[in-house]
């Protein structure tokens, strides 16, 4: 395994009764990157993450963290990771300081070193004012920060965060995102799953899409989003949207991608600037009251939904046989974005 690869997932399978939660996925993660792990509910994200953290074990395949097998060398793996689950319980009658103090002790910090480390972590996560508060009385956002603080106590090189922003209010979400960005700048590898895809897009260097336990896509976030930038045009009108939709239906080379309250998002078959300019000119000539016309970067949500559609299409999802160790992962779907980005 290369030194700059921190996570190596190879042909991973996990079955729960008749349900195949993880179905032969393989990917690797480079050290120092922020990786978004995307999938619908039940796609196998949490199961994969739990195997990475040694909390579950695979039925087939393997996961290595910093070269250590998660089943064979769990203690080595645990030393290197910080795990933040999507849901965790709180203790009654335990303050924020005591909670972190317990984990610091559990990680082997003693005496003054422990106190120093606790102060550092609490300062980083802005928990110092809450030190003496009972942890069961914290808000959701504060609890998430506390959980992150616990994750950071032993200064792990890899952080695995499962839906860390779920249930947070917008302010807490922004604060949390800032913390993750800070950690990324410190050189930590962050493997993060979330349903808020726009946030993942801003934070992540790489995105891993999974669906029904299978890998759908593994690639660079910027390329993924920017790849479709020229094909999506957002048009706003100052009159009835129906007029615009009728006009689009009568003109070849373009389609309505999404209808909005005061306009629509259109896809153009020809991504060139000339085609867009000509379309705008014709719209105005045909009396459409265009108030805004601009190219739009592809949203991650769109990419995700399209990938799911392609993944579930019969042509691209061959029926896999019952799990055996020799089954190879299904072929990746064809590239979503066919047009290279133009400047």
């Amino acid at each position: 395994m290369s030194q700059d690869v921190i996570i190596e997932v190879h042909d991973l399978y996990r079955r729960f009764g008749r349900i195949m939660a993880v179905n032969g996925i393989s990917f690797s993660v480079k050290r120092g990157t922020v990786v978004g792990f995307i999938g619908a509910n039940g796609a196998g994200k949490t199961t994969t993450m739990r195997i990475m953290t040694t909390l579950d074990f695979p039925n087939g395949g393997m996961v290595k963290v910093s070269g250590f097998d998660t089943v064979n060398s769990p203690n080595e793996v645990r030393r290197r990771i910080g795990w933040m689950p999507d849901a965790f319980g709180t203790y009654e009658n335990v303050t924020v300081w005591e909670y972190l103090d317990f984990f610091a002790r559990a990680f082997g910090y003693k005496g003054a070193d422990r106190q120093k480390r606790l102060l550092e972590v609490m300062e980083f996560t802005e928990l110092s004012p809450l030190a003496s508060r009972d942890m069961s009385k914290l808000s959701k956002g504060q609890t998430q920060r506390l959980c992150l603080a616990r994750t950071l106590i032993h200064d792990p090189e890899l952080l695995i965060l499962d839906e860390p922003a779920a249930g947070l209010d917008p302010k807490a979400r922004i604060e949390f995102k800032q913390l993750v960005n800070l950690l990324a700048r410190q050189g930590k590898t962050v493997f993060i799953s979330s349903h808020i895809l726009s946030e993942l897009g801003e934070m992540c260097d790489t995105l891993v899409f999974i669906d029904q336990g299978r890998l759908v896509h593994h690639g660079d976030a910027q390329t993924l989003k920017a790849g479709g930038a020229k094909s999506l045009i957002e048009v706003k009108v100052s009159e009835n949207v129906e007029t615009l939709l009728n006009w689009v239906s009568m003109n070849p080379g373009m389609k309505v991608y999404e209808t909005m309250q005061n306009g629509a998002r259109l896809t153009f078959e020809n991504p060139s600037d000339d085609f867009a300019r000509e379309a705008l000119r014709r719209m105005i000539l045909d009396g459409i009251a265009v108030s805004d016309f601009h190219r739009q970067e592809r949203r991650l949500e769109d990419v995700f939904v399209e990938m799911l559609k392609q993944s579930n299409a019969p042509a691209t999802t061959p029926q896999l046989p019952e799990r055996t160790m020799s089954v190879t992962p299904p072929p990746l779907p064809p590239p979503l974005l066919t047009h290279p980005p133009t400047t």
Binding site: T53, F57, R78, G82, W83, F88, V94, R105, A106, F107
Partner: protein, 475 residues
């Protein structure tokens, strides 16, 4: 490390520190502590009233109440808290977070138990002033009272270990089954001890304490190991430690025989504990993880041979059970003459352990079915069925002799309690012998592919050890 009073808690287990902080603040603990104090004050006043007012009527009523309250606290209420020790952590998803620190399953379980015992010790300390007050009121033997308190404290330690072990079972069915088995074990052990006490056998007070302390510690350690093994990650081999406990029990029992310290009692208690461990060993699924094999293969051929008895899983469990049965049989023959009954008992015991496992291995079930019809549910089912059949046979007075031996569990229970009524043991001996041998043959056949896989795993472990050596040499 130099001891510093400022950071003296650094020398304690993190789990103990956390649990004490948490436990001492709970309302239930505070309320219970205060209520007990109030009740003890009342009993001391009762003592005082008795000694002042009615000396002619004699003492005893308030003393019984005094010990009832302490007994209820130490042997019931305080051990009861152990049932939530690990289960609450599992349910609230916090146990996994602890696992990802440097704490092992063993340290977590022991930390929980120690914390509960520390709180129990606090209760015991709070009781001491009342004992002294009663002494000054008069009419009691303080040394005797201290002895009773000590025995209760030690009993509380064992029961707390049992409840902590039960709390590690995540499934309600498993908890129920383990509790059922554990309660039977505790009841049988208690019954044996009281029976021996009542009979007025030649057990001296010192011998009683030796037996109580050694076998109690064995029980306690076994329970904590069972609890730790339930929550441990698959790469940790707790089967080894549980089986070592069984062997340690055998050594203790043989030592007692050699020094003539209640040989029969110790043998029966150790046999029960040992077969409880064998019972658990036979219900384990084998795990083929190189890191489990590493400590064994490092010790060469002898280590690999010992691995055949100490790897987790039923194949090594079958070998271990056979080995333990032979040792126990030989130990029993040392203490008394080998008679037909002891041979029957050994064969019936072996059949009761192996036959259900062989039956289970013969049934072609998918993994879900196997999970549902596991070794433990099958054993408990057979036990219940055998007793139900026996009761029916007694009610209708038909096939009594036949039903008593058809399921070996009934014979084992009857002979263990020295209550076998069948005079002709010839036919059952052949039957149990055949059942044991047939089960063994089936299990050996089923073991062959698993043993092959284990040898492959050992080879991987050897390769990994070689790689580690090379890496160390290079670095």
């Amino acid at each position: 490390m130099k001891f510093s009073f400022t950071h003296f808690t650094d020398h304690l287990s993190p789990v103990l520190v956390k649990e004490l902080r948490q436990g001492l603040r709970t309302r239930a603990f505070i309320a219970f502590f205060l209520i007990l104090q109030a009740l003890l004050i009342l009993t001391v006043f009762g003592d005082l009233g008795e000694s002042l007012g009615a000396s002619s009527k004699g003492r005893g009523g308030s003393s019984e109440v005094f010990w009832f309250f302490i007994g209820a606290a130490l042997l019931y209420f305080l051990p009861l808290r152990g049932f939530w020790a690990v289960s609450t952590e599992i349910k609230s998803n916090t146990l996994e977070l602890i696992f990802l620190s440097h704490l092992t399953a063993w340290r977590i379980v022991v930390g929980k138990w120690t914390s509960l015992m520390a709180q129990t010790f606090l209760f015991v300390c709070a009781v001491l002033p009342y004992m002294l007050l009663r002494y000054f009121v008069g009419g009691i033997n303080l040394i005797e009272d201290f002895q009773i308190l000590l025995i209760m404290f030690l009993g509380s330690a064992c029961l707390t270990a049992f409840s902590v072990a039960v709390s590690a079972f995540n499934s309600k069915i498993a908890t129920g089954l383990f509790s059922f088995g554990g309660i039977i074990l505790i009841s049988v052990l208690g019954a044996f001890i009281t029976t021996f006490g009542r009979r007025g056998t030649s057990i001296s007070e010192s011998d009683f304490y030796i037996i109580f302390l050694s076998l109690g510690s064995l029980f306690l350690m076994t329970m904590l190991l069972v609890g730790a093994s339930k929550i441990a990650p698959p790469a940790e081999n707790f089967a080894k430690w549980k089986r070592i406990m069984a062997l340690l029990g055998l050594v203790i029992s043989i030592s007692f025989m050699a020094f003539d310290i209640a040989p029969e009692l110790s043998l029966v208690v150790v046999a029960l504990l040992t077969f409880f461990i064998c019972f658990i060993a036979l219900g384990e699924e084998p795990r083929f993880i190189p890191s489990i094999c590493k400590p064994f293969v490092r010790k060469g051929a002898l280590g690999r041979l010992s691995g055949r008895f100490f790897y987790p899983g039923w194949p090594s469990g079958v070998r271990f059970t056979l080995c333990v049965t032979v040792i126990l049989f030989l130990a029993a023959s040392l203490s008394s003459e080998i008679n037909h009954k002891s041979i029957i008992f050994t064969l019936a015991l072996l059949a009761s352990l192996l036959a259900p496992l062989a039956l289970l291995k013969l049934i072609p079930l998918n993994s879900e079915g196997v999970e549902r019809l596991g070794y433990f549910p099958l054993q408990i089912g057979l036990l219940i069925a055998s007793y139900a059949l026996m009761i029916l046979a007694q009610i209708f007075n038909v096939w009594r002799d036949f039903i008593e031996v058809i399921i070996p569990h009934t014979t084992v229970a009857k002979l263990a309690f020295d209550a076998g009524r069948t005079n002709d043991w010839g036919v059952p001996a052949v039957y149990f012998g055949f059942l044991s041998a047939a089960s063994l043959v089936i299990l050996i056949v089923k073991m062959i592919p698993l043993d092959r896989k284990m040898r492959e795993t050992e080879q991987i472990a050897i390769q990994e050890i070689e790689q580690e050596k090379q890496t160390t040499t290079v670095s």
